[in-house]
């Protein structure tokens, strides 16, 4: 599974990477993957799987999926 951690979500990844490739059992709950990676769900505002927004609590993912996660975005400069 190709995982993109947008914004400050990459801070939680053990090596602070914003792009991670991981292997997951077929039809795994995305929320369980995040638990494994120690990425707090409270920081995730948007979850996108293969280009479509999904519900973080119920979405299931497999190895072939492209997953993008974004934190809440505040003001710029």
């Amino acid at each position: 599974m190709r995982l993109h951690l947008g914004g400050h979500l990459a801070w939680y990844e053990s090596q602070k990477r914003s792009r991670v490739e991981i292997s997951v059992p077929r039809s795994t709950l995305l929320i369980d993957v995040l638990r494994e990676l120690v990425i707090p769900p409270g920081e995730i505002a948007i979850a996108v799987v293969n280009g479509a927004a999904v519900d973080l609590q119920t979405a299931r993912v497999s190895d072939a999926d492209r997953v993008e996660l974004f934190p809440p975005v505040g003001g710029g400069m």
């Binding site: 409270g42 993008e68 809440p72 505040g74």
Partner: protein, 634 residues
């Protein structure tokens, strides 16, 4: 005096070429502790009612906050305030960088400039020595050349220079200022006011230390050490250092609120071409900082390819990337770096400049302006070269640039027809690149802010939607609620009100939006303790919010005095229409919900819901009842 200031204001009359020193006492400063509060006080008391923005009587105030120059991260900001040529109301623009702290070290809390010099001049402040110097040789020159020339002729490389550019000289209504070429007081046309005074630059050198001004310098120094260490240990500040604001692009696009094609759309089909990974690979040469700040959120870029982009003027922030990019239908990253450099070189506000070009593109596509008006330029969305040419024409007020230099509201009035529907502005100031259809309190912020549409006047809903998020938990002690980003309600108005007061206090005390929670890593008690250490005052978080609320009320009173009413506290019609694409396709702001939330907000603020004037009771509560007397004068 040891309460974070020398208690000195420098008064400059450019017409008569005179300067004088004014002092204030601690009791005054506790009510107006610098920045926006001090500047608004001066503007409201001293600017003659009805004096126009380019009238020599207009007052340009450059003001530090009580914490500006304190040696801890994000305590760098100063404000520039005057009557705005873009809105004809309260104008303000804050910046970080190095100039504010240098002014503090020179012993001044503020510089107040009136009149108009007969010929171009610049101001030279070295501690308590002040000189008005000839600037005829600097007029019309690029900021980098001006900075080098001033440092050479004064034989001091450490001089910090605040200046306008060609945009301000030509009275472009959204012209800004820069210090150190990389930090910008961009909004509301303060550069044009300075240009109207024939003042090109204010050069400063100071040799005192903040520690000599603070009541408890040891506590301030300890906070500096703590925060410098925390930058990398806190996700929000780590992200600002790692990616900076350009990192916002993909998240906003995924959320469906990346303003695209003049706010018609919320997602851009070529967003991959302007994402942070590409920016880092193709543009980035360094991460830069403001005075004593460990966050280092500023980007430096250089391009030597299809475009030549100098590394002198700073890299594009998120706002510039989107306003000149997707909002104009453009996804060419190198061209956007060039466009950003041009805005910074000419000293135009890149938000208003991009928004004005997007407006012109939509007018062109609807046949309201044609090739005759554009001088043969095919001004359609997506035309990169046309966008770059427009920046040049606006800065020099050539061709159609002369019309667009007036900003979208005035240009729409001149063009006529449906053009006003394409002007994405509030009170005359163009919208920043955040779509309230996905974060409704940003709509309240755009509508009610005294300086027109501003994205840094409060926290954004998205940061506060989840009670488990680091942003919400940080700001929770202020008494806010976690609410869905798209909810628009009385309780949303209440949370907005609390955070507007909190953020407004940053503009008074001199802290950056990227310092305190909920946007970043400095906690509520640390802000309070920093103020206590600087001043010796027994302040609380509630008093900090009252400091912010008081400054907002002064700005509001200024607008009310100049004839502003609730009719100016509205949003562009387009935001009440559905977004065309992206994750929030179909989303809009309901007029009924918006009006109800605004009613709630006026109630919370203690303002009349029709005139928007603060009530006498509110002004008394804030310790500024004199403002009620002033508003009652005919």
């Amino acid at each position: 005096m040891t309460y974070g200031t020398t208690g000195k204001i420098l008064r400059v009359d450019l017409t008569n070429r005179t300067t004088r020193v004014e002092t204030f006492d601690e009791a005054f400063y506790r009510v107006y502790p610098g920045g926006k509060a001090l500047a608004a006080y001066i503007l409201l008391r001293e600017l003659p009612r009805g004096a126009e923005p380019f009238d020599p009587a207009n007052i340009l105030v450059l003001a530090n906050g009580v914490l500006t120059g304190a040696p801890f991260s994000t305590a760098t900001r100063y404000t520039v305030i005057a009557r705005s040529p873009l809105t004809r109301g309260f104008g303000e623009a804050e910046a970080g960088g190095f100039w504010g702290p240098e002014l503090k070290m020179a012993g001044w809390e503020a510089v107040v400039i009136t009149g108009r010099a007969e010929k171009p001049v610049y101001l030279w402040i070295k501690n308590d020595q002040v000189e008005i110097r000839d600037a005829r040789h600097l007029w019309g020159r690029d900021p980098e050349e001006v900075q080098n020339t001033i440092r050479a002729e004064l034989s001091d490389k450490l001089i910090r220079i605040l200046q306008i550019g060609i945009g301000g000289e030509n009275l472009v209504r959204f012209a800004g200022l820069t210090n150190e070429l990389r930090h910008f007081n961009a909004r509301t046309g303060m550069g044009a006011v300075m240009g109207s005074k024939n003042l090109r630059a204010v050069a400063v050198r100071g040799t005192t230390r903040y520690a000599d001004l603070a009541q408890d310098p040891k506590t301030i120094a300890a906070l500096g050490t703590t925060l410098a260490k925390r930058v990398k240990e806190h996700p929000q500040s780590w992200d600002l250092q790692s990616k900076g604001t350009p990192g916002l692009v993909d998240g906003l696009n995924a959320a469906g609120i990346l303003p695209t094609r003049n706010f018609h759309q919320g997602a851009f089909e070529n967003v991959d071409d302007i994402k942070w990974e590409k920016y880092e690979k193709e543009l980035l040469t360094a991460r830069r900082s403001c005075y004593a700040c460990a966050v280092r959120c500023k980007r430096e870029v250089k391009v030597d390819n299809r475009y030549q982009v100098s590394d002198a003027y700073g890299g594009p922030e998120y706002e510039s990337l989107d306003s000149l990019g997707p909002n104009c239908g453009i996804g060419d990253l190198q061209a956007l770096a060039k466009a950003n450099e041009l805005c910074n070189r000419y000293l135009l506000d890149s938000i208003s400049c991009g928004a004005t070009i997007a407006f012109a593109m939509e007018c062109f596509e609807h046949g309201l302006i044609g090739l005759k008006e554009t001088g043969g330029i095919d001004l359609r969305f997506g035309n990169t070269e046309a966008m770059l040419t427009m920046i040049e024409l606006i800065a020099k007020r050539q061709g159609i640039g002369d019309l667009l230099a007036e900003g979208t509201r005035r240009a729409a009035e001149i063009i006529g027809g449906d053009a006003r529907y394409f002007a994405m502005q509030v009170k005359g100031q163009e919208l920043p690149m955040h779509d309230p259809r996905g974060k409704t309190a940003v709509g309240l912020m755009y509508a009610i802010n005294e300086a027109g549409a501003d994205h840094l006047a409060a926290a954004h809903d998205t940061v506060l939607a989840n009670p488990d998020s680091v942003g919400f938990k940080g700001a929770a002690p202020l008494g806010i609620e976690a609410l869905p980003a798209r909810e628009l309600s009385e309780r949303k108005a209440r949370t907005y009100f609390i955070l507007e007061n909190w953020v407004s206090a940053e503009k008074v005390t001199g802290l950056c939006y990227f310092g305190p929670t909920p946007r970043s890593f400095i906690q509520v008690d640390e802000v309070v303790n920093a103020l206590r250490a600087a001043t010796g005052w027994d302040v609380t978080a509630q008093e900090v919010m009252r400091i912010g609320e008081r400054a907002t009320n002064l700005a509001r009173a200024f607008n009310v005095r100049e004839g502003f009413t609730r009719q100016q506290d509205i949003l562009p019609e387009r935001l009440h229409q559905p977004l065309e694409n992206g994750a929030l396709a179909g989303a809009l702001i309901s007029k009924e919900e918006f009006n109800n939330a605004m009613n709630a907000l006026y109630r919370l603020k203690g303002w009349d819901p029709v005139t928007t004037a603060p009530t006498r009771a509110k002004l008394r509560e804030l310790g500024i009842e004199w403002v009620a007397d002033l508003l009652e004068e005919k």
